[in-house]
């Protein structure tokens, strides 16, 4: 199963959701798989922070569906967030974990899921997230997207994907700071709120 194909399927289901995603090759893949979601996606750069940030956003915007596109390496960096979500039970957070069993962006050293003994969905369930599943086919993944996007409990799908990267895709040119402004202005516009307002004086 290719991550890019999964992304393309997920993208067709999205319109007014907000997405926070991890670093590495998945950034450019999402940029191309979901061009209509570029302004609604925050491209972040750190392991262990994607799902916590998405959760914070979900707390602040309880009427909006928030999607975390995390990774095996990223989730393993802070498994504690699963316990926090198990206790907090956000109603509007859908978490996809792209599990390619490797740290792809630095050349592919294996992560702990590569052994076959470490089951991220199992860890999530044991942390109190009842709806946590592993998908190994595109059809399974798509079915979990359908269910996860309308669930009123936290929903995790661990997508077992190959280590291939979609070739010849357009690179994202913006950095983290520009990405934040684009995302914040999109949230302001679509929510009718002010997040980064004017100073006291100009």
């Amino acid at each position: 199963m290719k991550r890019f194909d999964c992304m393309t399927r997920l993208a067709t289901r999205l319109s007014d959701e907000l997405v926070i995603l991890s670093l590495g090759a998945s950034v450019d893949e999402w940029y191309n798989a979901a061009p209509h979601m570029r302004e609604a996606s925050l491209f972040q750069q750190q392991l262990g922070c994607v799902t916590p940030q998405a959760f914070g956003l979900a707390v602040g915007l309880p009427e909006r569906r928030i999607i975390s596109l995390d990774t095996d390496g990223g989730l393993l960096f802070n498994l504690g967030i699963l316990a926090t979500l198990g206790n907090e039970q956000p109603k509007n957070l859908f978490i996809v974990v792209w599990d390619n069993e490797q740290y792809q962006s630095i050349g592919g050293p294996k992560t702990h899921t590569a052994s076959g003994r470490v089951d991220l969905a199992g860890i999530a369930r044991a942390s109190g997230i009842d709806h946590a599943y592993t998908a190994t086919t595109l059809e399974e993944f798509d079915a979990h997207c359908e269910a996860g996007l309308k669930a009123d409990v936290p929903y995790v799908v661990v997508a077992k994907v190959s280590g291939t990267v979609q070739p010849e895709i357009k690179r994202k040119h913006s950095d983290g700071r520009e990405d934040k402004y684009i995302f914040v202005r999109h949230v302001e516009k679509t929510e009718g709120i002010t997040i980064m307002g004017p100073s006291e004086h100009n």
Partner: protein
């Protein structure tokens, strides 16, 4: 902490518009956490480590609400990576309120590292901070931390020490 200091913290957070507190409990603030939990205007989320709390606070910033990360100052060390990435990489601010373990008067050997490392780490990250030792200054100091964080879109911190937490 005295009840009056707990109330001063909560007044400061409310004046700053805080609606969410992420915390990992510690001993010096032990009276503060249940008071925050009980406050109807503030949602609390207990986290598994302070770096996770920093990231949740950063996510809440993106929603237009205001968060505080409340912790012992040892939590600053656990938060350095997400704080660096969010603050320097993206300009997503986190306001921290921490107990100052290891300050003058510390009587626990295990807290000595917290005192030695806190201010150098804050300076390394270029995080503006104030150390408050007088209860009368708590409320305004917290408000000031939010003013600057939302002008700079960068982290700020308030450390409470002295008779406030002893």
């Amino acid at each position: 902490m005295q009840q009056s200091a707990v109330e001063a913290v909560i007044r400061g957070l409310k004046r700053a518009g805080v609606t969410l507190v992420c915390y990992l409990p510690d001993s010096l603030f032990k009276e503060l956490y249940p008071a925050l939990d009980a406050d109807p205007d503030i949602r609390t989320i207990q986290v598994t480590n302070e770096g996770e709390g920093a990231a949740i606070c950063g996510g809440l910033f993106l929603s237009g609400q205001r968060a505080a990360l409340v912790m012992e100052n040892s939590g600053l060390r656990a938060s350095v990576e997400p704080l660096s990435r969010m603050g320097l990489g993206a300009g997503i601010p986190v306001v921290m309120l921490m107990s100052y373990r290891g300050d003058m008067g510390e009587n626990n050997w295990w807290a000595v590292p917290h005192g030695i490392t806190m201010e150098p780490i804050l300076k390394a990250l270029r995080i503006p901070y104030t150390v408050e030792r007088e209860e009368a200054d708590i409320e305004q100091s917290i408000v000031n931390a939010y003013e600057l964080a939302y002008s700079s879109y960068y982290h700020t911190a308030v450390a409470l020490s002295g008779s406030i937490v002893r």
